[in-house]
């Protein structure tokens, strides 16, 4: 019997230990972009001769706070980022033009061992510096007034949706960067997705108290299907989905909607991945996911497999039809830190994953 992705192998480890990495996206098939806590985006060209390790090529500078999520438009021309600096920024994803500059790849904390008993920041190692092209944003959209975690687009590249910690959801004309409409949810938007036809926004709302106490009923997590035209809730799934979701994604063909438990770690059992019927919101199946929390989800372009990563330091592959775990990639970094983000190249041949210590790894995916 074929073992999907059984021959996958680690190709590159790309150190960027400046701060923890929050999001990843491929630009086409051979460039990967990573965004971090410091508000930086770094782009590597992966198309290097055999035996060579890719070096970072571009540094996208402009955010003044943590970047929470990035995506690349379907035509691979634009990279879009959302941040805790309250802005949405557009970047030229293809250009190699810019001012020459450098980046220190290891100027952050090494969190391991920095405990109560440590009295200072560990001595920094010798700086590892790389030459890069510095690029600035094309657009700077300031329509939000809070941290933005929700970011999704339609597969035709026409509609963009963002959501923030004030519960504001904004629908944009993506090419023009123009706000089309907005509506108010009741709590923080932890993650959202937009259906491929652009008619529905599925959004998880969660105010992340560690412990939930009675008297805070207004902060109970919610999950809604919102009608994009009217900004009204079309379906309330809050009774079925009772936790905050770290990742809500529609498959490009619109067949599946998936949601991963775990935007904030609580004492409750969590980390499950729900597979939902986008039409009626009914749960089709549930994957056990990642104990303690699922951090990110990505559909493989084959339309059959879902990749996930989580707080258990694992990357896992699930068969959407059978509901079975196809394989896990083991712990790629023994640092006691989460794997926070994953992305798959357009052709489905490369997988990128990032841990919270700042390392990006790239796997070659051989589907069979």
């Amino acid at each position: 019997m074929d073992q999907p992705f059984a021959n996958s192998r680690l190709m590159y480890s790309l150190p960027w230990n400046s701060a923890y990495i929050t999001s990843l996206a491929f630009i086409g098939n051979y460039q990967v972009a990573a965004a971090n806590k410091n508000g930086d985006i770094l782009v590597w060209n992966l198309d290097v001769p055999e035996g060579k390790t890719p070096s970072p090529a571009r540094r996208l500078v402009g955010h003044s706070n943590e970047i929470n999520r990035i995506l690349v438009t379907p035509d691979s021309m634009t990279l879009i980022s959302v941040s805790s600096d309250h802005t949405v920024k557009y970047w030229d994803a293809r250009s190699v033009e810019g001012e020459p500059g450098t980046v220190v790849l290891n100027d952050g904390f090494v969190p391991k061992g920095v405990t109560e008993k440590v009295d200072k920041v560990p001595e920094p190692p010798e700086p590892i510096q790389a030459n890069v092209v510095i690029q600035r944003p094309l657009r700077d959209l300031r329509n939000h007034a809070e941290w933005i975690h929700g970011l999704a687009q339609t597969p035709d590249g026409k509609t963009l949706v963002t959501g923030d910690d004030d519960g504001v959801i904004i629908v944009w004309d993506l090419p023009g960067g123009r706000e089309l409409r907005r509506w108010q949810a009741t709590q923080w938007i932890s993650s959202l997705g937009v259906s491929p036809d652009g008619k529905t926004v599925a959004a998880s709302q969660h105010t992340p108290f560690i412990r939930f106490k009675s008297g805070l009923e207004e902060f109970v997590p919610h999950f809604h299907f919102w009608d994009v035209e009217t900004g009204k809730s079309r379906k309330d799934l809050s009774k079925e989905i009772k936790e905050g979701m770290s990742a809500v994604r529609y498959s490009p063909d619109g067949r599946w909607l998936v949601a991963g438990h775990g935007n904030v770690q609580t004492e409750k059992d969590q980390g499950k991945i729900l597979v939902i019927d986008p039409a009626d919101g009914k749960k089709i199946r549930e994957f056990p996911g990642h104990p303690v929390g699922t951090n990110d989800l990505a559909f493989h372009p084959d339309g059959k497999h879902l990749f996930s990563c989580g707080r258990d330091q694992q990357i896992k592959v699930w068969n959407l039809e059978s509901g079975k775990l196809v394989r896990d990639f083991g712990k790629f970094a023994d640092r006691g830190v989460w794997i926070g983000a994953i992305a798959i190249s357009l052709d489905g041949r490369l997988l990128a994953a990032a841990d919270r210590a700042g390392q990006v790894v790239v796997y070659s995916l051989n589907p069979f």
């Binding site: 806590k37 904390f109 920095v114 405990t115 109560e116 440590v118 560690i210």
Partner: protein, 429 residues
């Protein structure tokens, strides 16, 4: 200075110690295997003075360990900073977290101690230490600060409890060696009395039942003079008194008008109830706000909590001031410890006692200042370290309570703060 001269062979406090030891020994010799519940003459004098001053204290306790770098000791531009941004406050030079915008308008009332250096850096022991001034390892039933203030600042004529706790508190030492009279009266976070406190019978019937109960208790007490009985009797009496005074806890109508300002949360309501209890004369109220133990996801967790804290705390200060109560009401914002400057691999901060922050405001405190400092990245105290003893001594001083008040557990003397503890004069208004 030597104290063993002929004219002054030993210092006065040693005389007192001997006398008190003797008294304790005599009591013990008389067969009372009981603690001496602190009823010494000099204690009564202190209590009379404190009561005359009419001091009150509200303690806002951030259970789990609140992050100093994400609240009142921010490190912008440093690798320990995190995503929160500082904002200016009404006092030049005091910046606070952007998620404390309303508290930023009250920094003229605040004394921000940025140099707490404490020893007990886990929840149980930290909670105990920051409530009693002593490490739990001493195996002595120390009294919580609330019990101590209740003892010295209570109005004995009042039917209300003298020490009220609402919500999670992180310490259950209670009145310790001070005895059952000063045990905390514990409510849920929102300050509501339990349902059984709203009886269905008339006041007259309640009073008759109370008198009957007292009579029976007195009869029983003559034959059973032991501590468990005393504690039980005390509880019964307090219940009767509470039933008379329960309206002080009934804030429902007023809360409807206040909840938008305080925030419609249990902690918000707890702060509002505390205001009402202070108005009614309760000397010590502690309100717990839990969920700060953010080893993971420190920033969203703190942000969520600060959005609850900010309206509640600021409204409490505003209302105390508007009612003319702030000058006699000390408001303490504290925790069992702070959180690490370094951000770990789970986006969290861990327990940290080496350099953290508490805030004092109101009665007896000189506001509009910071005291002490942590170093550039927040890993060490850089200036004016404050230990548990100095912190407690300062609170006691502000409350008009002798920080070296002594009580006895049997014949063993126990002081309110350890030897050498001194109030911080710069903080006292």
């Amino acid at each position: 200075m030597k104290m063993n001269s002929i004219n002054n062979p030993c210092p006065w406090h040693q005389h007192r110690l001997r006398r008190d030891l003797l008294k304790g020994a005599m009591i013990t010799a008389a067969g009372w295997a009981l603690p001496n519940w602190g009823a010494l003459s000099h204690s009564r004098t202190i209590a009379a003075e404190a009561k005359r001053a009419g001091k009150r204290c509200i303690m806002l306790y951030m259970e789990g360990g609140v992050s100093q770098i994400d609240t009142f000791d921010m490190k912008p531009g440093r690798p320990t900073a995190g995503p929160f941004r500082p904002i200016h406050s009404t006092v030049s030079g005091i910046e606070v977290c952007e998620y404390l915008p309303r508290m930023a308008r009250h920094t003229d009332k605040l004394a921000v101690i940025r140099s707490m250096k404490t020893k007990s850096v886990d929840h149980g022991i930290g909670g105990y230490h920051m409530h009693t001034c002593y490490p739990s390892s001493e195996k002595v039933p120390h009294a919580e600060i609330g019990a101590m203030i209740a003892k010295y600042c209570d109005n004995p004529e009042s039917d209300l409890p003298s020490f009220v706790k609402m919500g999670p508190a992180g310490c259950n030492a209670g009145s310790g060696y001070l005895g059952p009279t000063y045990e905390p009266f514990t409510l849920d976070t929102d300050g509501r009395l339990p349902g059984f406190a709203n009886p269905s019978v008339s006041q007259e019937v309640q009073d008759r039942r109370g008198k009957l109960l007292e009579f029976m208790e007195q009869q029983h007490a003559r034959e059973h003079p032991a501590r468990p009985f005393a504690a039980h009797r005390e509880a019964e009496l307090r219940t009767i008194r509470l039933m008379r005074a329960r309206k002080a806890f009934d804030v429902a109508d007023a809360w409807n008008k206040a909840r938008d300002r305080y925030g419609n949360t249990p902690f918000g309501r707890g702060c509002f109830t505390a205001l009402k209890l202070v108005e009614a004369g309760v000397p010590f109220i502690e309100i717990g706000h839990d969920g700060y133990d953010s080893h993971n996801d420190n920033f969203p967790v703190h942000k969520a909590n600060l959005k609850v804290l900010d309206p509640a705390w600021s409204s409490l200060l505003e209302d105390l001031q508007d009612r003319g109560l702030l000058q006699d009401t000390l408001v303490v914002w504290t925790s069992e410890f702070g959180r690490t400057p370094a951000i770990n691999g789970q986006g969290g901060r861990d327990h940290f006692g080496r350099a953290w922050t508490v805030v004092l405001a109101g009665g007896g405190i000189r506001g509009g200042q910071t005291y002490g400092a942590s170093n550039r990245d927040g890993f060490e105290v850089a200036d004016k370290p404050v230990d548990e003893g100095a912190y407690f001594a300062t609170i006691y001083k502000a409350m008009g309570v002798d920080h070296r008040a002594v009580h006895y557990l049997g014949s063993r003397p126990i002081w309110a703060t350890p030897d050498g503890s001194m109030p911080i004069p710069e903080l006292i208004g």
